[in-house]
């Protein structure tokens, strides 16, 4: 069970059982949905941007412990950050995850320029890397946040 203990760390289960920043944000906050067609996980990311800063963020949807915990931790780390800072975090998190995703999906590995960013609690998700299919769970909220930021910055241009 050593590997399992590594996957289901207490902090992950804690975020899963008591997700932070759960709920919805009203308009004009941006709403974006993400699906994991494999397992049916669904995430809805609401972001309220102000002056290029993530003023507020909330998460809806449902999914497994990894996707829920990852989303919950994500809200904590990006809330209050500027878009640029948030993007660096997203980048760093994906780098931590991407090792296997590269192999499975053929995406080019993101260049490694952000290795000095401190991911805090998120480091607990490192165990996921040993379970390639779970990487999609861990990155679902993050990809949806990326899409959300893209949509907002493109429409406001």
């Amino acid at each position: 069970m050593a590997a399992l203990d590594d996957l289901y760390k207490e902090i992950i289960l804690d975020h899963y059982r008591s997700p932070r920043n759960q709920g919805e944000l009203d308009h004009p906050a941006h709403r974006c949905e993400g699906f994991n067609p494999l397992c049916g996980d669904e995430v809805i990311v609401y972001v309220a941007l102000n002056d290029g800063k993530i003023d507020d963020i909330k998460i809806g949807g449902q999914g497994c412990s990894i996707s829920q915990a990852s989303a919950s931790m994500m809200t904590e780390i990006v809330k209050g950050k500027s878009i640029e800072e948030a993007e660096l975090v997203i980048h760093a998190f994906k780098e931590m995850m991407d090792i296997y995703e590269t192999e499975l999906s053929g995406n080019k590995k993101i260049e490694s320029t952000v290795s000095d960013i401190d991911l805090g609690d998120l480091e607990a998700l490192q165990g996921v890397v040993k379970y390639p299919v779970r990487i999609k769970c861990a990155t679902l909220a993050w990809n949806t946040l990326t899409q959300s930021i893209d949509e907002v910055t493109n429409t406001s241009l």
Binding site: M1, A3, L4, L7, Y8, L13, R17, L38, C39, G40, D41, E42, Q62, G63, C64, S65, I66, Q68, Y131, R134, C137
Partner: protein, 411 residues
């Protein structure tokens, strides 16, 4: 009378596999079944001895390959009690079979404002092709509801089917395990003037299938759930209906003549089999049918009933209110499929933890998202059994679920 499961397990090479010191407990047969030795070697034998393109050659290998393909068709025709072999069309999977019907029969016979009836328990394979056609032709889809007992709610069926051109539904749910009342629904649909397509992908592996008795116009299933290989599926249809349909894919095999100006189609069944067919897969499917016939589908079914009975009781006893099992509670009303929710643990996590003990179940929406919505969940865990499973597999599953509980609800 009972199946000798220990002996049967020996016929399946993959079941001998040991990972991390633990033997394989395969409980995902509704997803895809494992294959007996005889099926795997039928394919190997074909390539080792007789590989050639069919219907085209005048040398011995080509004749052997043709005989292998066509005798597999005979076996399928016999297995489902088709009136004749021309009614058996080989396709790549059940999904293609349903798309074939929606693209040919559907395109010709359905027009703006027409109605087709599906049920809420359908697999995406029996939903998406109709969505595509509905969008193209502006037809209406009506849905038979699923009741709390996991059975179809037929209370308003006559209203739903009234004026409909087609009823298309699964004979057995891949999530709930429910057997639907195929014969009754077919009859009522026919009375209302609708044609009937039966998605028997889950049904054929578990139950004697008799297309004449079931009363359908089309019936589809897929080889890989029936001990056969991937890459082959079957569309059965009534000869006069198939005859009147336009072709689906165009190319070699399906033509009688081709000029620069046009073409004419070949006779059934080849009219619907464009291009080089999957001969090895047909050989494998034929061997799978031989294997099942040898054992007897009645025995497969009665084994399954007693195994599901055991599983339903065992899981309820061991986990009480912590487990929610979907679908009919009576094992005689369902096939070997057992979907459940387990308090506090997401299906994906459950499957992951079980995998640590080499127990294979499926977690997810099972390609039945509309049904998930009805059940009010995003996903379920699903253990599904077949003739090579026995009570010990269920015991190991229960053991594994205890570990899940230890991680997620350790108090």
């Amino acid at each position: 009378m009972n199946l000798d499961v220990n002996r049967i397990k020996q016929d399946f090479p993959v079941l001998q596999r040991v990972i991390n010191g633990k033997s394989l407990v395969y409980l995902d047969s509704a997803n895809t079944s494992q294959k007996p030795d005889s099926v795997i070697s039928a394919m190997g034998d074909y390539y080792n001895n007789s590989n050639a393109n069919v219907h085209r050659g005048s040398y011995q290998l080509a004749n052997e390959a043709t005989a292998i393909l066509e005798s597999a068709r005979d076996k399928v025709a016999g297995f489902i009690n088709a009136n004749n072999r021309q009614e058996v069309i080989f396709v790549k999977n059940a999904t293609e079979a349903i798309n074939l019907v929606s693209n040919t029969w559907g395109r010709v016979n359905l027009n703006q404002g027409d109605v087709i009836v599906l049920t809420e328990l359908e697999h995406h394979a029996n939903i998406v092709p109709w969505h595509m056609l509905a969008k193209e032709k502006e037809i209406e889809i009506r849905w038979v509801k699923v009741g709390d007992d996991g059975h179809l709610d037929l209370s308003n069926f006559d209203t739903l089917i009234d004026g409909a051109k087609l009823l298309s539904f699964a004979a057995m749910s891949n999530v709930l395990g429910t057997f639907t009342p195929v014969k009754e629904m077919s009859e009522r649909a026919h009375t209302a003037g609708a044609k009937v397509l039966i998605d028997a992908s889950q049904y054929t592996p578990h139950s004697q299938t008799d297309v004449q008795e079931l009363g359908a116009d089309f019936l589809t299933f897929t080889g890989h759930k029936l001990l056969g290989p991937m890459g082959i599926g079957v569309l059965w249809g009534k000869e006069e209906i198939l005859d009147a349909m336009p072709p689906f894919l165009g190319g070699g095999e399906m033509i009688l003549n081709v000029t620069k100006e046009g073409f004419s189609t070949n006779d059934l069944p080849w009219k619907f089999e464009a291009g080089t067919p999957m001969v090895a897969e047909a050989a494998g499917l034929g061997a799978a049918i031989d294997y099942l016939n040898e054992i007897g589908m009645d025995k497969v079914r009665s084994h399954e009933i007693s195994l599901m009975d055991y599983a339903l009781t065992k899981l309820q006893n061991d986990f009480g209110d912590s487990i929610t099992i979907y679908g009919p509670k009576d094992a005689t009303e369902r096939g070997g499929v057992l979907s459940f929710s387990f308090e506090g643990a997401h299906p994906h996590d459950i499957a992951q933890i079980l995998d640590e003990d080499n127990i294979c179940i499926r977690a997810g929406h099972h390609c039945a998202k509309p049904l998930m919505q009805v059940l009010g969940v995003g996903a379920t865990s699903r253990a599904s059994a077949y003739l090579y499973n026995d009570e010990s597999d269920i015991d190991v599953l229960a053991e594994g679920l205890r570990k899940v509980r230890d991680i997620f609800n350790p108090n």
